[in-house]
């Protein structure tokens, strides 16, 4: 434990230093990608808690991110702005009344997302394995259908605009660091051990006195909480949200991130985020026409997505441990000793 902490503090200081100097190093585009990376680190690390640590393949993050995004957006928009934005129906009274600062708004996003997760846990964890995947996938769709069909709350498919952009990299980076620390705190506690036990062998875990339903629900709620916060940050970063932002594609991206990084490793989730979000920008050349040894190919929009799905399959087939396996940065140094 002590050793882990010492290493951890070094990483923490490096990260803080990096965040502090980043505005002087990167231009706008770089900063935008960096903000994206930090938000996706929040999402990936919390997704990894339920998916990698607890071993429950849930496909719901898009739903929780959507809840978080809408709650934060509604809390930050002024009453006048709401009247102006809502084109289809008048905003409902509690939507108008919801008016908070950024931090309480983000916390509320997390709380609402985890409350929904709590309600959902009952049908989801009644059965094991694959059903979890399909129910959570369905839940993501239902959230979208609700967002589209509740214009008095969400402004329907037009969505919400003009969300005040009150964050910068210190916010996204800072919240990402806090999220990583809190989730690591869960992982390295008796609850985290119980989650891993559930992943390794659910029957044995139960036979050793672990209430597996409770543990899975805890992981699910915690993960939803931070996904909600990440969603809130995403809304503020983009300044506009609509239901089409929260499709299964978002979940798929997170899945690639944590699989590539190594299911169950928080460090892996961070590396995966940098690779996938950064790499997705870098791989843009795949979509445009290419000049390969004088032979000019046609542009193939969408080729990037083919590459990503292939990466996912190949990692699963040939390198199932991903980049980090189940290890963390600190473990690598410990092995060297």
């Amino acid at each position: 434990m002590a050793k882990l902490n010492k290493n951890f503090i070094v990483y923490l200081l490096i990260s803080i230093a990096f965040i502090c100097i980043s505005p002087y190093v990167f231009e706008d585009y770089g900063m935008r990608i960096l903000n994206n990376i930090f938000i996706f680190i929040i999402l990936a690390v919390s997704y990894n808690l339920i998916n990698g640590i607890t071993g429950q393949l849930s496909l719901e993050p898009n739903g929780f991110v959507a809840i978080g995004a809408y709650v934060t957006a509604l809390a930050l928009l002024s009453e006048d702005m709401k009247w102006e934005l809502f084109q289809l129906e008048d905003p409902s009274p509690w939507v108008l009344g919801l008016n908070l600062d950024l931090i309480p708004a983000l916390l509320l996003s997390g709380v609402v997302a985890s409350a929904v997760a709590f309600v959902l846990a009952v049908p989801v964890f009644r059965v094991r394995g694959d059903y979890l995947a399909i129910v959570t996938l369905g839940f993501g769709f239902i959230i979208k259908v609700l967002a589209i069909n509740s214009p008095e709350v969400t402004n329907g498919s037009i969505g919400l605009n003009e969300i005040p952009s009150v964050i910068n990299v210190y916010w996204t980076g800072g919240i990402a660091i806090v999220t990583v620390i809190l989730i690591l705190n869960v992982v390295y506690s008796k609850y985290g051990r119980a989650m891993k036990a559930v992943r390794d062998d659910e029957d044995a875990a139960s036979a050793i006195g672990i209430d597996t339903f409770k543990i899975k629900t805890l992981a699910f709620i915690t993960s939803a909480f931070f996904e909600g916060i990440g969603g809130g940050l995403l809304a503020v970063l983009l300044t506009t949200i609509s239901p089409d932002l929260f499709t299964f594609f978002l979940t798929f991206q997170l899945l690639i991130i944590i699989v590539l990084g190594g299911l169950g490793s928080m460090s892996g989730a961070i590396i995966g985020t940098v690779l996938v979000i950064g790499g997705s920008e870098w791989l843009r050349f795949l979509d445009s026409s290419m000049n390969i040894f004088g032979y000019v190919t046609d542009a193939h929009p969408g080729l990037r997505m083919v590459v990503f799905s292939l990466v996912l399959i190949i990692v699963m087939l040939f390198a199932r441990e991903g980049i980090m396996g189940k290890k963390e940065f600190s473990d690598i140094f410990r092995k060297k000793k």
């Binding site: 490096i14 990260s15 990096f18 990167f26 231009e27 706008d28 585009y29 770089g30 935008r32 990608i33 960096l34 994206n36 990376i37 934005l85 084109q87 289809l88 259908v145 589209i148 069909n149 329907g156 498919s157 037009i158 969505g159 605009n161 952009s165 995403l234 970063l237 983009l238 300044t239 506009t240 949200i241 609509s242 239901p243 089409d244 932002l245 499709t247 594609f249 590396i271 940098v274 690779l275 950064g278 790499g279 920008e281 870098w282 843009r284 050349f285 979509d287 445009s288 542009a299 929009p301 969408g302 990037r304 997505m305």
Partner: protein
């Protein structure tokens, strides 16, 4: 975190090497959904842009215009990233895009902050240009089209009772429907039924069977081509005999005609442009010919509008001493008066295009020009 640096450096290098400058050139960024759920629309729009660019890629002062296309995968996050990249790394002077209103609104804030003009080809929602200094569009807004449709229904089709089919998943559809409802009622019409569908649905038979029992005379359905084609086909299968009026989204893709087949005969549609309409501008004819020659297909409305977005930016650049001066270019874009574009005559006021609408009727699987409505 080193890795991040590396990735960014590599991507920067890749971008630099891709755009080695030989002569002086001005850059226009293009953000289009080339893949993802609405990738088809982006691809159609981009074709028009390519053709227009091949016809005219020089400014009056001899500078070359370079287009930098970025795929936003039909996604908001990507749209915002793309705008950021175009502005801060590629240093573009103006941006064309990003097709749908929702994706466009994800990038306008970034452009607004950087004072880079955005010209939206087909983002029709009224919010897109509202309170924006640097955002303009060449299409008319949902409000105008909704009014045109209501007027046409009452005055020309003489229909006082309408069934309204709205695609709740589509901001475009709800935008038009809302204005239509208001205008139609004002003119003495009555909406007898308001039906909601979801784009992506394929089976409308249950909904249409219910409608059939009502024996509707007139149906207004501001929806996109796929759904419009399927609704038309299934309505015919069920024996619904009503007059249908659609909007520019209906005929936006030829899949409407193909899938609809015989069922779409006699449908009315409001549009910005019709390849059959009398050519009001010289460019319109020329563009039409070149497009057909190059792409071997007829012109797509999204393609023409993308081409006109380009034309208006180029015209604005020609009026500036330094064509790369984004503030000047924006000023001139927003001062566009009676511009004779490929899609017709366009004036821009407060960022919104003032332009005439056309009404077509579908005959023999083609749009046939009926009338022009001026604003």
């Amino acid at each position: 975190m080193k890795l991040l640096n590396k990735v960014l450096t590599i991507s920067a290098c890749a971008m630099l090497s891709a755009s080695i400058v030989t002569a002086k050139e001005v850059k226009i960024g293009v953000i289009m959904p080339m893949s993802g759920p609405i990738g088809g629309f982006g691809q159609s729009a981009n074709k028009g842009l390519e053709v227009m660019h091949s016809m005219n890629n020089k400014l009056d002062n001899g500078d070359t215009v370079k287009l930098i296309l970025i795929d936003n995968k039909s996604d908001k996050i990507e749209s915002a990233n793309s705008a950021s990249k175009l502005i801060s790394s590629d240093k573009v002077t103006a941006i064309i895009g990003a097709l749908t209103s929702t994706n466009t609104m994800a990038m306008t804030k970034i452009a607004e902050n950087a004072k880079v003009p955005v010209v939206a080809p087909v983002a029709t929602n009224i919010l897109v240009t509202k309170r924006k200094e640097y955002v303009s569009r060449v299409c008319f807004s949902d409000a105008f089209q909704g009014e045109v449709a209501a007027n046409f229904a009452i005055n020309e089709l003489k229909q006082k009772e309408a069934v309204l089919i709205t695609d709740v998943k589509l901001d475009y559809s709800i935008g038009i429907a809302k204005i239509f409802k208001r205008a139609y009622k004002k003119l003495g019409g009555k909406i007898v039924k308001n039906v909601r569908i979801n784009s992506g649905d394929t089976d409308f038979k249950a909904m249409l069977s219910n409608l059939k029992a009502m024996k509707p005379k007139f149906i207004f359905f501001p929806v996109y081509s796929s759904e419009a084609g399927l609704i038309a086909k299934q309505a015919r299968q069920l024996g619904i005999k009503a007059k249908f009026l659609g909007t520019d989204g209906m005929t936006a893709d030829k899949v409407f005609f193909k899938a609809g087949g015989k069922a779409v005969e006699g449908f009315y549609g409001t549009n910005l442009f019709s390849s059959d309409a009398p050519k009001t501008t010289e460019l319109s004819k020329k563009f039409d010919d070149t497009f057909t020659k190059q792409k071997n297909e007829s012109v797509h409305p999204f393609g023409v509008l993308a081409a006109d977005s380009y034309n208006i930016i180029v015209a604005a650049m020609n009026k500036c001493k330094d064509p790369a001066d984004n503030v000047c270019v924006n000023k001139n874009i927003r001062a566009t008066k009676n511009f004779k574009g490929a899609s017709g005559v366009i004036s821009i006021e407060n960022g919104d295009a003032k332009r005439s609408a056309i009404i077509n009727i579908i005959e023999n699987g083609k749009e046939k020009y009926l009338t022009t409505v001026n604003p």
